[in-house]
């Protein structure tokens, strides 16, 4: 009888065990959530909540480099917030933001049908890769810019 009673009292009570189990699950869940949130980054969206990475594919513009000036025309329907120019020379490259040095780029970017004509010092570069930068929205940080992939840029060969 005494042995039976001792056996019954051994270990945690079912209530404590359940509370512990639930607590551990919640803690592990939170750890996984914050870890996952850290590696995935918050999505930047544009227009009706479309991810800006997809919108980059819809950017359409034409560009020309002539007489030390860069000419750009936004032919599409996606506003180009900024343009990054990656200039490749002999064994090196530099990246600049178009129109930043002389404030000639419109502050709101190039909207539909807008054009840009400004000086660009290429320092002997033979190729210019123009990479669009789009302005999007995030839930936590509000307005945020996103630089599109280099494959979505436009290359100009300087002759």
């Amino acid at each position: 009888m005494c042995l039976k009673k001792m056996n019954k009292k051994r270990g945690l009570s079912p209530v404590v065990a359940t509370v512990l189990l639930i607590s551990i699950v919640i803690i592990i869940g939170l750890i996984v959530f914050f870890w996952f949130k850290g590696i995935t980054h918050e999505a930047i969206t544009k227009f009706d909540g479309t991810n800006v990475k997809l919108v980059c594919g819809d950017v359409s513009f034409q560009a020309q480099y002539t007489d030390g000036r860069l000419l750009v025309s936004n032919d599409g329907n996606v506003p180009i917030y900024k343009l990054k120019a990656k200039m490749e020379g002999a064994g090196s490259y530099t990246t600049v933001t178009v129109g930043e040095s002389d404030s000639s780029w419109p502050p709101i970017g190039l909207n539909q049908g807008d054009t840009y004509n400004g000086a660009l010092n290429i320092n002997g570069a033979t190729k210019i890769l123009l990479i669009p930068v789009l302005a999007g929205q995030t839930d936590s940080e509000g307005k945020k810019s996103y630089t599109c992939d280099e494959s979505q840029g436009k290359e100009i060969v300087v002759s």
């Binding site: 009706d48 020309q64 000419l71 909207n111 539909q112």
Partner: protein, 175 residues
């Protein structure tokens, strides 16, 4: 007695189902929230049959007269107009919309970025329609580029869409 004890072991079947369904819904919600931005929405794109044609032009004493015809299959609302000032420039960047003379043209309006064919911007410039557009005090130009624009209903809202694929160029001889 033994049978009764065995039957009470573990969670009840109902609680098991409730938990399973709840986890399923929560997981579904998380995946939906994460992936919803990757679903492509309807993009602003002009139909293929959009076309403008510069039927005639004169360029005298800094005044540019254009006769523009809608020779496409769709209604248009207006156009972007840019010019070059030398033959080296293949891309037109001089905005001519600010030189649009609505009084002399008789119809149309400019918002300094684009020009609408009609004074009421929502009014259509239908296929076959012809417009005479006059630009005054135009600087020295070599060529012009016209990009048609139209209003399209996208996702329930009307948006102005630029038809970059229907852009036309014309080399002018001004005197």
């Amino acid at each position: 007695m033994e049978k009764k004890r065995l039957g009470k072991k573990g969670m009840s079947v109902v609680i098991g189902y409730v938990l399973l369904v709840t986890f399923g819904i929560i997981m579904g919600g998380i995946v939906y929230t994460y992936l919803k931005s990757y679903v492509p929405s309807e993009i602003d794109k002009c139909p293929d049959g959009v076309s403008l044609f510069v039927k005639d032009f004169t360029c005298v004493n800094n005044q540019l007269n254009l006769t523009i015809k809608n020779n496409g299959k769709f209604n248009l609302q207006g156009y972007f107009i840019h010019a070059t000032n030398n033959s080296n420039q293949t891309l037109a960047t001089i905005n001519l919309a600010k030189y649009f003379n609505a009084l002399l043209s008789g119809d149309g309006v400019s918002n300094n970025a684009s020009i609408y064919f009609k004074t009421d911007p929502n009014e259509d410039f239908s296929p076959g329609d012809i417009a005479n557009e006059i630009f005054s005090n135009v600087p020295a130009i070599y060529s012009i580029e016209l990009t048609p624009v139209r209003i399209q209903k996208i996702g329930g809202t009307e948006r102005l869409v630029s038809c970059g694929s229907a852009k036309i160029s014309e080399v002018l001889t001004c005197s």
